[in-house]
């Protein structure tokens, strides 16, 4: 525990890679991810927790990274958009956003992919209402959400289900 205005040593695992860093106590996680680690896929839309563009997954919790101090993420495992796909192959969620044209300008897309990935991890067969509720924290000003919902429905259908 240190005084405000000073720094804190943190250790975080991001997309499987461990990072040790000294961060200003006031630094937000999103700034640490973008500016210190150079992972620019996590976007900043509003900086007030309203838009969801900065959504990442912290210790299994869907999180707006502008609403968490970097110091609060000490010892956490974090997944960002850069860690979603492996070996250059799109995940079913990413593939479905591509096929259903679930984006226009693409600014909100990293956050939406994280929210959709989180949803399908919990609920492989969501209803349309469940999908709409799951992306409520992610604002898209282009699409009107119709193609985003279709994308997530398609991703759900594409994900192999455990034998019933």
């Amino acid at each position: 525990m240190v005084d405000a205005g000073t720094v804190q040593a943190i250790e975080v695992t991001i997309n499987g890679t461990k990072h040790e860093a000294t961060v200003p106590s006031r630094q937000l996680l999103v700034h640490f991810i973008r500016d210190s680690l150079g992972l620019k896929g996590t976007h900043i839309g509003c900086d007030t927790g309203s838009c969801g563009a900065c959504t990442v997954i912290v210790d299994g919790k869907l999180t707006k990274s502008c609403m968490l101090l970097a110091a609060q993420a000490d010892r956490a495992e974090i997944e960002t958009i850069e860690g979603v796909a492996h070996d250059g192959e799109l995940t079913p969620v990413q593939q479905a956003f591509h096929e259903e044209h679930g984006l226009q300008c693409g600014y909100c897309t990293p956050g939406l992919v994280m929210a959709a990935t989180f949803l399908l991890g919990r609920n492989p067969n969501p209803t349309e209402e469940e999908i709409r509720r799951a992306v409520r924290g992610n604002i898209c000003r282009c699409t009107g959400y119709v193609n985003i919902v279709r994308s997530i429905e398609r991703a759900a259908a594409a994900v192999p289900k455990e034998a019933a």
Partner: protein
């Protein structure tokens, strides 16, 4: 640490406090991150059926907890409809209460459920009933140097139900008027608690409406008639989302709906 240092504050989910700091509404010397203290993250069922919920239990955890869903399904449902998934993963029941924003979801429900707030003081623990906990805008019974540890929610008991109704700006969004109700029916209405929110600085037990309900037959007509007691005594602040008059009118509507839901739920529980 909270009691020894001036300008110190507890940080739990941070879904309000971080923005407060960003906007420089408050400036703190020391932030104590309590969100990962295991003892504040437990949900326990006491022998008498009371749920003891740690202050740092998140909305998402309330929504998904089997013990909350079985003992207090409405509490799980309300927590599961707070804003969005990201906020539900971080925001905590203790933070929702200690912020005491009049539009917050949980305070009126906890008052209707007759919950008890367990506060840790430097001198030891103390208990405050939920109905005395919320003092007003952003003000609660938690004094400087103290910490809300947990919240005890007693079982509803036989023949009782709870209801909750909101008029909001949009789905799961900021509330314009809100009510939570507890009703116990045995033939006629034996007991009622009606709590209004967003229309006063803190959750408000509307005793005149409660009095009108007691002894009445449990029916939508009785709820409607009792809600007429909500009147000029209420002076809600108006804003861009609703004038003072509109909020007062909506308070009658949500109060009636919450009481009806509580009567139906109590009826279901009677089988």
């Amino acid at each position: 640490m909270l009691s020894e240092r001036e300008g110190a504050a507890a940080l739990a989910g941070g879904q309000s406090l971080i923005n407060v700091l960003k906007h420089r509404v408050a400036s703190l010397e020391l932030l104590v991150d309590i969100s990962r203290l295991e003892e504040l993250r437990q949900i326990d069922r006491l022998p008498d059926g009371t749920l003891e919920i740690g202050a740092c239990v998140t909305y998402d955890e309330l929504d998904r907890s089997d013990s909350v869903r079985s003992a207090q399904p409405l509490l799980a449902h309300v927590a599961g409809h707070i804003e969005d998934q990201q906020i539900r993963c971080r925001g905590t029941i203790g933070g929702n209460c200690c912020l005491s924003d009049p539009t917050n979801n949980l305070p009126p429900l906890l008052v209707a459920l007759d919950a008890t707030m367990m506060i840790q003081s430097p001198g030891g623990p103390r208990e405050v009933p939920a109905r005395e906990f919320f003092h007003g805008y952003f003000s609660t019974a938690v004094e400087e140097g103290e910490l809300l540890r947990s919240i005890r929610v007693p079982p509803l008991g036989p023949n009782a139900g709870v209801g909750y109704s909101t008029v909001a700006v949009g789905a799961d969004s900021k509330a314009i008027a809100r009510a939570a109700a507890f009703v116990r029916v045995d033939g006629a209405i034996e007991d009622a608690r009606v709590v209004l929110a967003c229309v006063a600085p803190a959750p408000l037990r509307h005793t005149a409406m409660e009095k009108a309900l007691r002894g009445a037959q449990a029916s939508p007509e009785a709820a409607r008639a009792a809600a007429e007691r909500i009147g000029e005594d209420l002076e809600p602040l108006g804003d861009a989302h609703g004038s003072s008059e509109y909020r007062r009118e909506m308070a009658r509507v949500v109060a009636r709906r919450a009481v009806c839901e509580a009567m139906v739920e109590g009826g279901d529980r009677r089988g």
